[in-house]
Amino acid sequence: MSPSVDRRTDIGVALGLIVICAAIIIETLDLPPGTFEPLGSAPVPRTTATIIILLCGLVIARAARRPASAGGNTGESGNAGEEGDEPANGYGHALVTVLLTLAYAAAIHMRLSTFAVLTTLYLVATIGWLTGFRPRLLPAIAVTALVVGFGCQYIFTRIFVVDLPGLQ
């Protein structure tokens, strides 16, 4: 309805979707035709992806037609709106959290250490970063991290049997 997303985001996301859909269409090409009915496995994903590409084209066309200045902060209130209110370090915080989370998942994947240790380290790093490592908060951070880390490991390997990297 109202053009409340800035033009670059709109076009960027739509282009990204087009690339994904194109890859999917290519992947459907070598699927065999159906044996039990005329459709087979390929047409449904192919049609879906094609319609998305067409609709994304529409989104891009609309975004391109409106003046660049019309984007930005004209949005109604909502989760993604009110960019103007964000503190400048919001993006930094989010980016570092995402990176730390990816590193955490990779560490669990490679079973570098036990789940409890990895979780504790992750929580100390992330909460610490988000609170600016204020010395006053460090004890609270350490306690939270240890309780969650070792608590989770206990609950999820002893009570609920989950195949987390644990002590063996």
Partner: protein, 332 residues
Amino acid sequence: MKPSMRLIRSIATAVAGVTALTLAHAGALAAWPEKPVKIIVPFKAGGTSDQVSRAFQMAIQDNELLPQPATIVNVGGHFSIGSRQVMEAEPDGYTFLTVHIALMGGQAGGMFDFGYRDFAPVAATGQFCVLPMVRKDSGIDSVDQLLEKAAAEPDTLIFGANLGAINHLAGVMLQNTEPGAKFRFVQIGGGTANFTALTGAQTNATVLSAAEVLNFTRMPDGSENPESQIKPLAYTGPERVGKLPEIPTLKELGRDMEFCIDSWWFAPKDTPQEAIDGMADALEKASATDAIKAFYDSKVFAPLFLRGEALQESLDATWAAIEPVAIQASQK
């Protein structure tokens, strides 16, 4: 000479002992199992394979048949994922897989490129068979009538199945017992979905397991449920089922077909024999416990147990029977 002989003999014994010790240590199998054993179930929790594995896990634990705990790990998604994980796992004697005939169906149907020969077989425990089902108001009262109709009007009787899965293979095998018979197979899903579709007259026939038949067509006391609109025609097992005594087997009806699903336990290829034997021992002892007997009874399983040579023969025979059917099923 005598003392030297004795010396040599004692040295030999010592060497042999040390060698044995070292060897045993190298294989870390001096006393298998030294750590918890992981049983991978390549299906979601709650399914039949999961229930079988968990029943055995409990029986092993409660009767202390293994000195270490056995833990069940469900790997969901398609069953080929969990199976492949076990195939590629370290053959250290601590990873096992429970799976069934679907492994052969998938390989023969060309869904994936590995099969039972890529594992070390451990045991087969328990067996259930299926029953062809039709609606009570269908006018069909026997397997002969069903198949004669399928032969007279080929490709019109709608057979509900999960394409490529157990009930599909059973349907193909069934139609093969009557020359010219041909069902129209339609994707419906598993037991519950087929029960729904048959009740709603979306389909004309399907197969259900004995436990499903009891659940869907009988009252808790075993008498017929008057609200149920479907009925079984025959049983695909070698003998009649105690809880459905009036249902004949296909063999009795003169049709050479047996279709039963065993729970197979596999280990990665090259797993040390000690571990395979140890696990098979534990499973064999567990099979004899009251808990497992009660479990078999409630699930209407036959109390089968196979290991070693007998297991290998049974696997090869099943493959010989199922491969052509699976290929036929994948080509309609």
